[in-house]
Symmetry: C2
Amino acid sequence: MAEVKSDIEIARAAKKKPIMEIGAKLGIPAEHLLPYGHDKAKISAAFIAEQKGRKDGRLILVTAINPTPAGEGKTTTTVGLGDGLNRIGKKAVVCIREASLGPCFGVKGGAAGGGYAQVIPMEDMNLHFTGDFHAITSAHNLLAALIDNHIYWGNEQNIDIRRVAWRRVMDMNDRALRQIVGSLGGVANGYPRETGFDITVASEVMAILCLSTDLKDLEKRLGNIIIAYRRDKTPVFARDIKADGAMTVLLKDAMQPNLVQTLENNPAFVHGGPFANIAHGCNSVVATTTALKLADYVVTEAGFGADLGAEKFFDIKCRKAGLKPDAAVIVATARAMKMNGGVKKEDLGKENVEAVRKGCANLGRHVLNVKKFGVPVVVAINHFIADTEAEIQAVKDYVATLGAEAILCRHWAQGSAGIEELAHKVVELAESGKSQFSPLYPDDMPLFEKIETIAKSIYHAGEVIADKSVRDQLRTWEEQGYGTLPICMAKTQYSFSTDPNLRGAPTGHTVPVREVRLSAGAGFVVVITGEIMTMPGLPRVPSSEKIFLNDEGFIEGLF
Amino acid sequence: MAEVKSDIEIARAAKKKPIMEIGAKLGIPAEHLLPYGHDKAKISAAFIAEQKGRKDGRLILVTAINPTPAGEGKTTTTVGLGDGLNRIGKKAVVCIREASLGPCFGVKGGAAGGGYAQVIPMEDMNLHFTGDFHAITSAHNLLAALIDNHIYWGNEQNIDIRRVAWRRVMDMNDRALRQIVGSLGGVANGYPRETGFDITVASEVMAILCLSTDLKDLEKRLGNIIIAYRRDKTPVFARDIKADGAMTVLLKDAMQPNLVQTLENNPAFVHGGPFANIAHGCNSVVATTTALKLADYVVTEAGFGADLGAEKFFDIKCRKAGLKPDAAVIVATARAMKMNGGVKKEDLGKENVEAVRKGCANLGRHVLNVKKFGVPVVVAINHFIADTEAEIQAVKDYVATLGAEAILCRHWAQGSAGIEELAHKVVELAESGKSQFSPLYPDDMPLFEKIETIAKSIYHAGEVIADKSVRDQLRTWEEQGYGTLPICMAKTQYSFSTDPNLRGAPTGHTVPVREVRLSAGAGFVVVITGEIMTMPGLPRVPSSEKIFLNDEGFIEGLF
């Protein structure tokens, strides 16, 4: 077997082009590219505004089966497909999410893709990048400081200090900050109250930035954030304490999408990174809509499996931004099928066609689900070295029975040359005009019915249960005018059910709604169906212990 | 009277040159300038390393009288003098500090200079700039998370959790975070303990970054940070929990100095910004030493008045970095002399030569103090519109009695054309070879004697008093090998004494040492002589309420 290079070795050996050249490929003049070093740039808001009248390219969603420890390679396939489309003569842009800094010091940092399908510069993308997440942290915490300051100076808005909804954030895995009592130390420091920190990607400001169409829209949404409730239960908004203007100023640069490149020097937009459970888990609307103006094809991805990621992409992002996806790619691997078929991780190296066949139920469910949104589907089998021909064929045969096609892709090992067939197929589907996209439920369906629709139609659950308090809360929001918002499901990503150990394609299970939260600025109702951790901790031996700069100035231990 | 434009109007009307052109003036090749937009860049560490063998230019310190509400214009004069030196044919670079983000939302943001002596882009410099402070915040808080994580997983280092010395930081004015109890919520969140947040500029990581000569030195100093004590009182260092490598990685880019420009398109380095009380209040050593390699003249400033700022510049920064200043400029104004002479702020508009003469005692003390370091001195009278000729003459006459010269400067109104005389005088002093710089006290003087030396020689105090516990602590540190460190005085900036209301040139006062702290990474002992606020609060009506983006995309209300 040929030597296998690590992702970081491949990334470091890449011949990067100056970012101005990458921008020029898309017709972005140098004065509208704001460089961050020589390999990253922001695209100016002015240039973006100028593109308004232009025709949109085709939008391709890359989604996946439920994630397993075997690894699926959704981002790798997104990047590979972008390169593949460029290879066959289409002008294509990849749109992916930014990585969070904090978790890199707990476990190893995530590459943006893998093998010969990566976005670079990998180190920067795992560290401060262009500062977007820091700006979001600042804007979020400015609002928090203004709330406590408002209370301190007399509480003109009559905030019930037991019902402050806005916490603070930090882009760090720090369990000690999950739950704190602040404002201790006497009169000069304010009114002691219980609060805490979430990780920055869980901030509603992050979700807002990713759903806003421009700075005006951003400012309006920031103003709509519910920061607290009064004694009479009426909400207090960020605009009530005049926080929206300053928050917008802090986010001015962060709103501009980041341009980087793939290993094959094709353009990639990396912008925004909301949590995929308590938020919608997609890159920014601004990045996607801008890319659509500049390219024939835009390949983007959504968080987790298609049950969570694609559903939110369609029902939240596409609905709100008026996007019409032309095709969807569902990424699967023979290994993951085997795990879904009951094989343990340590036995994945052995051929097991029967287990592959059995595990395909999970893939099949996702294929049929995505079709419910009216979007044509193709399955990408991301090739792993130990896969056997019989296993691959089993997946192909299974997918054929669903009226779809599964295509073997070798982009991890070969770059764009290994994914030409998929690229051609995507073009065929997208240009067939077959896409008849529509969201799963209409805006005017009652909130609880929306939850039931998702649970039954996508998860194949038997019922949704919720306490009276939850149902009452949903009704109150409907009365307050929030009934037309879409639902943002927070559920385990490992199963169609709420039990992470239930692989395959379970049916008839119960979805218990533990809690609902209103993200009035982002514009969705979060429905929590399990333990949702919004501030991770560090492990016993955090990866930070092995991270350092070597004598050549390269970062060791981050990957 | 001609119309007076605001600083921001002048800054916005400036004709900025591309930052690559500004760098080229200093001989920095484009590939060694890492751009942040088109008007900011970092100078690569590789380029800096290459300059090692080159001859140094002349170093000029700009310092001031004790600050008064009248305003002195130290940064304005620093920038003006840089432009003035360029105007008379010297290649000059200005080195100043970066601004802190948080305070801009409380009171109006600070310009970098004023009138026609400013550094631009002003908006960016008051917001995220090149992300240095965010990187410092991240590195500081990573260490904090690692400490609590270490305790959580078994506390192998036997940290006494009552004696954790490392707090967290945020670049925000947030009084609610001054004192908190963290790790609440049960077993999964750790051991509850009292802690709190300081503002980022107060972080020891900031002081370390500003005193480190390169990344290796940075890593060593970060490792030397004392994070806590054990039950047996022995210190636990950051290196003991293996935090130094990852912190260095987070600070890799932040260590590279930032290049921007003055209104007259001359190069300015803006890098680092440690608190001027619990830290040393100077821009980074890397920026200053790099500028000295690239220019004939480097003009830099120190925080607050000369009693604090210049003393720390000489005794900490110059001592540690081996810098030899060639001349010092002390900035004064006729208005400030009047205030020192007893005039109230509302009466500053009226001529009062007698008060000016009386107030000159403050200026005179600073002139003589700076001379004690062996550095030749010139006084810059920063001209204000309402100053009268008689008042200016009174200052000049007074300074002449001290064997020095006071020169009227009109750079605020006229830019470099208004400060030519000062520029020529500075060149004359610097090239006279008269500078015989030496710090005030030797390394091997006992710590308490160092404090007494500063208090008596610079403040003209009668005595220094301290509890036995403070003296014992200093002795313990001497025994542990920290006795050779310099002292970093934390004293009110408004007076030579510890009473902020005592203007002029008091003598014989008592300096009470309330507390001492060891910054073992930065390499100094902080001596606290009053209330030192390390986390500011927001006012009743924070300036954030008036900050917004206008329809042209300009920021309103920040200045």
